[in-house]
Symmetry: D2
Subunit: 184 residues, 4 copies
């Protein structure tokens, strides 16, 4: 499948996981649709809209193979939004889907996953298709009906064809063309 | 195509149409997905939930081949909910999708389309797939996310294959077994 | 009490009453606070905001001597908003406070009470104090907290002093100055 | 004025103040009506209902002498709801009324003001009248219309008569009867 104009979803950079027995990775989730909701616990629109919507996604698509992931992408008030504070928040707001703490950066306030995806802020909703590409990326508040439609369409998509094992050769593949790092 | 467990959508029985240059029929809409919202103008849940949801369906799926139809299925207070009153209501509530007045019955308060579909009341949402079968039938209020998901799934379905002319033979096919009506 | 700048509330002109064993009149309600909500059954903001707010007023102030009155002031779509249609509407929306049908005008679409009060449209909320003057007049939607505050303040006001019997003499009184109709 | 059955409002025990140039005290606010909203920054009902309602109180009664005070009464998740975290929260939620941090207890999780008032939890709304007595105390969510009515009624009440200087003598006064501590 050719997907020149869709970004391959960068891997999550995570410093801590909650609500999951083992860390998740997009690599291992390949073949499934992923709904990724980036939030901050002190972001009003996340609390009133984004997180309740994510809980509805979790509930409505519970019988599908959709994976819901919350991403706590703190880019301000770092001292107030620690992992311990997040834990209390999750408890009070009854959040039960897996939540990842976005890995802080060594060089600035923007955490690493947020930076990799070029997010503009929180809340941000990202949907990743079965083949691991970003199918939807939206900062702010979105209508439930649109989220439902996008998820259903992607869940109905067939599993991607198996990829040959081994490192991807430099050059052109169905996903595009890459430089050979050893050249030059 | 045989579809034993899904009802073929009965044709609409309509005494008047609004917001359309020509009457619609499910027969002529075959091949398209139809969102049918049955309401009464004096039904509180229709006014506060069903009709606003139908307007969101109309807006969000405007670039698809979905056909939205409102069905005014009056089964009580007939003197208050006349076609003229409906016209004023449509104007005040800014309803712009095609609206059909469900054909009154000669023998009771339940109008004919409502009876054909076995609706329990209003609001009722019905979704008809490309092959003309009822894919969804729900009395009451439904979440936007679920409506969005159902519509997107059906819109993604391929057009049905053309059906051979003539009566379907009795006997067993891959879809099930039917009785020969001439036998016995 | 001097009240030069407050309009004395004009009497209601009513063609039919619902939800009351006998007609009401502001004259006979003198000494009590009155909450008057003017609406039309096909006015969206009345249905979604004004009438639910009036129901909350009725419920919250039920142990006071406040009188709640709905006023069906039809100034458009007259054929659709007949008294019979209003009766069905009241039934479906569970309205139990007294409702008056504003007396139609012989000369135009604006009914008589609406005209007397100079209302701009529906919904309009009017509060009349114990002394029969208009204390509050607002077109559109108002915050519950403000309505609650205005009603409580007026309900706390002492009953007005008894008025001398007989017709009010022309000339100046504490309420202002009036012309002698027999003069000139 | 006799007020046998109304509790005199205990003084606030506060470890830090925000949004005020100088600490407030109920003692110095005597003669004014006070709206006290006890909340926790991670309490969902406080965030979705109590604090927005308090902001409406602040806005709607801004031209009166009402004093609005937020009280951060943390009785769980102490590590997550520090004064620094509260500061970030206030910034994100645009809270501009004075906010007091309820003084932690040395002996248990319940802070001192919360304990003095016998609060059951958060959100709690308390209204203190001009004479310094508790006029309203409610745990949970209350209708805006009721809050508006209670505040307006108390704001309309006259200032209390000046109290004679010096210690109150034992015996019976207009406020009730007290024991002489030196007796017995």
């Amino acid at each position: 499948m050719n997907s020149n104009f869709r970004m391959k979803a960068p891997e999550l950079a995570v410093s801590a996981w909650f609500n999951t027995p083992a860390p998740l990775s997009l690599e291992r989730l390949r073949g499934r649709v992923v709904f990724l909701h980036a939030f901050q616990m002190l972001c009003p629109a996340c609390v009133s809209h984004g997180l309740p919507q994510t809980q509805r996604v979790q509930s409505i698509f519970r019988d599908t193979d959709l994976q819901v992931i919350g991403l706590h992408s703190v880019f301000e008030h770092h001292a107030a939004m620690t992992p311990d504070a997040l834990k209390a928040f999750m408890h009070e707001y009854r959040l039960t889907f897996p939540i990842a703490v976005d890995q802080p950066s060594d060089t600035g306030p923007i955490p690493q996953t947020m930076d990799r995806y070029g997010m503009r802020g929180t809340p941000t909703a990202i949907i990743i298709g079965r083949d691991g590409h970003v199918e939807y990326h939206r900062f702010g508040i979105e209508e439930d009906m649109i989220i439902g439609a996008r998820l259903a369409t992607l869940l109905a998509a067939p599993m991607p064809a198996p990829v040959a094992a081994g490192p991807e050769p430099a050059g052109c593949t169905s996903d595009g063309c890459t430089l050979d790092p050893h050249v030059g």
